[in-house]
């Protein structure tokens, strides 16, 4: 499915003349040391093709998410290329990041230097996305990451990075408010012991302690990232269930799916409400199967949303792939569209000009009116709280929305993000 985008054989031709390479035109004395500013970058003007580098984890542990995100990306590109609204076409190459920072930056280098890409999108894990963040800044290309880590548009933000993925900080906002309102403020945490887990706890904790004076952390257990055996923690959570109002689980992916199925087998959900960040993801729901019933989850996206032109997107996606879109496909899809509108608005494909236009540009998205905030380039997505419920048919749980928090309320204050733009 990705091979058709990779069939441009030209990439392997080392003998490829770079016509735009300003370096060629320079004349200078042999061996003379000069100022690097004398060496032009790829002069990029208002050409009518936008070259994209799509870097996704297509092998390894995030490959299902990578494939899904890629489908959203390809759908958006196809729609833009068929539409009369835009006076440019998007051309793209797909690369496999292998969920590895050094591979991802190597592929980014290939995309930019070999294919002349001016726009990058993709990458799911935070470490990889942050590495590409820095690459985008150094190479002055616009990048739309797929990671949810707070620091991507926080302390590791830069001018060239725009994120449509909902940040963990935004999800934590709705989780904290809903949990305090509906369940209580005596919280037990179980997190995976790595950046994501730590940030979930930090974000939920800081919000809960500002919402409620009586907030208390009953206890915390940490499992290794990639753990497959949570029995011990389930026992610990179970024995704290008298004191605690809820257990907040800071894990995602396979960790979370396994945790939920093991917890369900032990009947943990009947003892204490389980509140998660990402149980609403299809891969988690599939992995956990019946284990997800009755679990609460922050929701970044579900296909049933009636916001913006989401239903048009869902239909187009179903037509194309014969499947429902999920969180990662909508991120891939709208990331491309938002940047494309920025290019249209800027009237040039030059990423340096586009980045200035894009920041703060109000546009209609699948979530309705939205924008990348000027202070951190984070999209102001609304967020929801949901419950995974037993479906009418089949085994994989449905997600029922319980409450919504608007984009402006969910977004953290600009002063607190750690991003200085």
């Amino acid at each position: 499915m990705i091979s058709d985008s990779e069939s441009h054989g030209s990439r392997r031709q080392f003998i490829k003349a770079i016509s735009a390479g300003g370096a060629v035109g320079l004349t200078g004395l042999a061996g003379c040391i000069g100022d690097a500013d004398d060496v032009n970058d790829n002069g990029s003007g208002g050409s009518d093709t936008v070259q994209y580098g799509v870097i996704e984890p297509l092998s390894g542990s995030f490959s299902d998410l990578g494939e899904e995100r890629l489908q959203g990306t390809e759908l958006a590109i196809q729609q833009i290329n068929e539409s009369d609204e835009y006076d440019f076409e998007i051309d793209y190459e797909t690369y496999d990041s292998q969920s590895n920072a050094s591979t991802a930056t190597q592929k980014a280098t290939e995309a930019v230097q070999s294919e002349g890409a001016q726009y990058l999108t993709g990458c799911i894990s935070s470490s990889v996305a942050i590495a590409v963040n820095d690459f985008a800044r150094d190479n002055q290309v616009v990048y739309t990451p797929g990671a949810a880590a707070v620091s991507v548009t926080g302390e590791n933000c830069n001018d060239y990075v725009f994120r449509f993925e909902t940040s963990t900080a935004q999800i934590a906002e709705v989780m904290a408010q809903w949990t305090a309102d509906e369940l209580g403020d005596q919280i037990f945490y179980h997190i995976a012991d790595y950046a994501y887990g730590d940030s979930v706890k930090a974000e939920v904790e800081s919000r809960l302690s500002s919402i409620s004076d009586s907030y208390d952390e009953v206890g915390t257990t940490k499992s290794e990232f990639g753990s497959t055996d949570f029995e011990t923690f389930i026992s610990q959570i179970s024995s704290a269930s008298d004191e605690a109002d809820a257990v907040v689980v800071g894990m995602t992916g396979a960790d979370l799916a396994i945790f939920l199925s093991q917890a369900a087998r032990r009947g943990l959900g009947e003892e204490i409400p389980i509140v998660t960040t990402t149980a609403s993801f299809q891969p988690v729901l599939q992995g956990a199967a019946e284990g997800a019933y009755g679990v609460y989850s922050g929701v970044r996206y579900v296909p049933s949303l009636e916001t913006g032109d989401n239903q048009t997107f869902v239909e187009a996606y179903q037509d194309e792939y014969d499947a429902m879109p999920d969180n990662f496909s909508r991120v891939g899809y709208e990331s491309i569209r938002m940047v494309a509108r920025g290019i249209k608005e800027a009237g040039t494909t030059d990423p340096t000009a586009v980045k200035d236009t894009l920041a703060g540009l109000e546009q209609e998205t699948i979530f309705g009116s939205n924008r990348f905030r000027e202070c951190d380039h984070q999209a102001t997505n609304p967020v929801w709280m949901g419950e995974c419920v037993e479906p009418d048919s089949g085994e994989v749980a449905d997600v029922e929305l319980l409450t919504e928090l608007g984009g402006e309320e969910a977004a953290p204050d600009c002063e607190t993000t750690g991003c200085e733009l």
């Binding site: 080392f14 004395l29 040391i33 299902d64 050094s102 470490s127």
Partner: protein, 654 residues
């Protein structure tokens, strides 16, 4: 309290039994055939996926039990085929070659799983009645876990009885103690190899299925369990079934108990345990004192077909050619080529560092990524916190790596062979776990945004802000760094070559050829090996440091065991014991990967197949290709015969 303890004990036993099933096969395969089977984890995953495919149409009730019977048989057959067609040609060679072979098989099988099934984790349906919970001494307990303990226990008991009370078992046990003696008694032990391999594979599949029902099934489940399984095998003693059982249950229980009481130690404990036990009892808990042999020859590269003058000229020409690479940017190819070759040069340096110990003293370090990672983190930490001078950062990276190499060498070099490989792996995994947690290394995300200037005490240049103009070509940034990397590689090559030509080098080579004789000559071989290890560690640190210097970041993945595996692959691919072979290996590895990833998403399948073919048909690496081809070109006969386990080896410098 008692209830809690029983709970933990049962939890520990559940996972422990799975470990036992996995480690038993792995251990017996090693004991009998001396095969370090990295693909065991993939067979484990394959078992779970076959079970899924069978349960699909049959349903979770009867389907589960049918799968539990049929899927292991299928995997067993695959195991037999693997032994027949890939492992068999390698008997008589050093177990090191099995690392490359089974590493290739890991890529192949793993990619086949991706071809056959959806990526991502899926839950395996289990029979309805096993989903209940029961009360055991006041604590509620999932019935399925008890089923795992009972079923796994019965399986392990069955295997034990088979080994203990049948003629088949008798021969296998004898073979694992002394292969040659069994042969001398007139028993054709080779015939038993396929069966043992198939049985081990089937046991792994059983483990995969019961664990799949307990957790979920995902294509990554094999890679995540193979390292703990290896540690258990080594802990129990290679080849010892009893050892695998005791160590498996022990690790399961210790992990579970620690998780409750000292969670910080959870990921570290099995490695600490392994290092500790190997230091006290190098043969593991139940391993036999004297292993019959260390498993055959290391096939190091030979002199080749060219005389030394031509070789020198060729080398100079290669360096000259490499020096020209950045000049073609913009006219012949894009700047990406420079970035790619920089990475290749750095990995070439890393592979060269490994070759210095592996190819010249026979020490197979399975944890060399530890030093690469140390160098990378040292540079990142220095640049971000202390000084932005590239020279200071690199110097410290080399020093720290050398220091850690001395320490690791001090503790590890007393053991040899596979035990040395495992102990270095243990240290590397400890490092990986620690940098994933520490504040100063920024946990699992890693360190980003390090920039440097080339100079000291604030006086120097930033590569991005200067340019060297050569005619019509302007060299700046990456292109200048290219020469830094090339100079480092060349310097390291000349340094190690000089060392090997010195008396020090002669001792190293004599250790590789026959350590006992070197000792008889009065050399304290441990000291020499340790020195070589320090040099190697320092160079690996230099490689990691250069990478971070160039890219500005360091992440825990640098120290992951897959990195250590890849660098071994490069060394063997190119030809070990040659210094230049590993550099060639790096070019081929990255070149293949770069080309293959463009053509197919299933590039691992092709790459893995290439490794398998390589190790079978070209064991001395690429550098031996010319001498292998000469007889054919001149119309002569095949240069070598098919090796058998009797064959003491057919390569070597002699």
């Amino acid at each position: 309290m008692l209830g809690g303890l029983i709970q933990q004990l049962l939890d520990g036993l559940t996972i422990g039994v799975v470990y036992v099933l996995l480690a038993a096969g792995l251990s017996v395969i090693f004991g009998v055939m001396h095969v370090i089977n990295f693909a065991h984890g993939e067979l484990f995953a394959l078992g779970a996926y076959f079970a899924l495919a069978l349960i699909g149409p049959l349903g979770g009730g009867t389907g589960f039990f049918v799968a539990l019977l049929v899927a292991p048989l299928l995997v067993g057959v695959i195991g037999v085929l693997i032994e027949r067609f890939t492992v068999r040609p390698l008997y008589g060679r050093n177990p090191l070659y099995h690392i490359l072979l089974t590493f290739g098989l890991v890529l192949v099988i793993n990619d086949l799983i991706y071809v056959g099934w959806e990526p991502g984790s899926v839950s395996m349906p289990i029979p309805e009645f096993l989903r209940a919970t029961v009360d055991v001494l006041g604590a509620s307990y999932a019935l399925y876990n008890l089923f795992i303990i009972a079923f796994g226990g019965a399986m392990a008991f069955g295997v034990w009885a088979l080994l203990e009370y049948t003629k088949f078992g008798l021969i296998v046990r004898a073979g694992s103690q002394d292969r040659q003696m069994v042969r001398n008694l007139g028993i054709d032990i080779d015939r038993y190899y396929s069966l043992v391999f198939g049985m081990g594979a089937a046991l792994a599949a059983v483990a995969g299925i019961v664990l799949g029902g307990y957790q979920t099934v995902s294509p990554e489940m094999g890679t995540s369990i193979i390292i703990p399984a290896f540690v258990i095998v080594v802990l129990g003693g290679l080849g010892s079934f009893k050892g695998a059982v005791v160590a498996g249950l022990l690790v399961g229980i210790i992990q579970t108990v620690l998780r409750t009481h000292v969670p910080i130690l959870e990921g570290l404990v099995i490695f600490l345990l392994m290092i500790g036990i190997l230091l006290i009892r190098p043969q593991g808990l139940f391993g036999s004192e004297a292993h019959d042999d260390d498993g055959g020859e290391l096939l190091t590269g030979t002199g080749g077909v060219l005389d030394s003058q031509t070789r020198t000229r060729l080398a100079i020409a290669m360096v000259g050619l490499l020096a020209l690479v950045p000049l073609g940017v913009g006219t012949l190819y894009s700047p990406y080529v420079v970035s790619l070759v920089i990475e290749i040069l750095i990995w070439g340096l890393f592979a060269l560092s490994l070759d210095f110990v592996m190819g010249y003293t026979g020490l197979v370090s399975l944890g060399h990524a530890l030093f690469y990672g140390t160098g990378a983190y040292a540079v990142a930490i220095v640049l971000l916190n202390v000084s932005q001078s590239a020279f200071v950062a690199i110097a410290l990276a080399v020093l720290v790596s050398a220091g850690i190499a001395w320490f690791v060498g001090f503790l590890s070099i007393r053991v040899s062979g596979v035990y040395f490989a495992m102990i270095t792996l243990g240290f590397a995994e400890l490092f990986y776990n620690v940098v994933s947690r520490l504040e100063i290394t920024n946990g699992s995300d890693g360190l980003f945004g390090a920039s440097a200037y080339y100079g000291v005490a604030g006086v120097g240049v930033d590569l991005d802000s200067i340019a060297i103009f050569l005619g019509s070509v302007a060299l700046t940034g990456q292109m200048l760094f290219y020469y830094v990397a090339l100079a480092a590689l060349l310097g390291a090559f000349l340094l190690t070559r000089r060392m090997l030509q010195s008396p020090f080098g002669s001792v190293l080579k004599s250790i590789r050829e026959n350590e006992q004789r070197a000792t008889f000559l009065g050399y304290e071989t441990t000291v020499y090996k340790r020195r070589a290890f320090v040099v190697s560690g320092a160079l690996a640190g230099l490689a990691g440091g250069l990478f971070t210097l160039n890219t500005g970041y360091a992440t825990p993945s640098f120290a992951h065991w897959l990195h250590s595996g890849e660098v071994i692959v490069m060394v063997i691919l190119g030809g070990m014991g040659t210094l230049y072979g590993p550099i060639l290996g790096s070019f081929v590895f990255f070149g293949l990967e770069d080309v293959l990833t463009d053509f197919t998403a299933r590039w691992r399948l092709v790459l893995g197949t290439v490794f398998v073919l390589f190790v079978i048909f070209l064991p001395q690496g690429l550098v031996s290709l010319p001498s292998q081809l000469v007889p054919y070109l001149s119309g002569g006969s095949s240069p070598e015969t098919e090796p058998t386990p009797e064959d003491p080896g057919f390569g070597g410098d002699g």
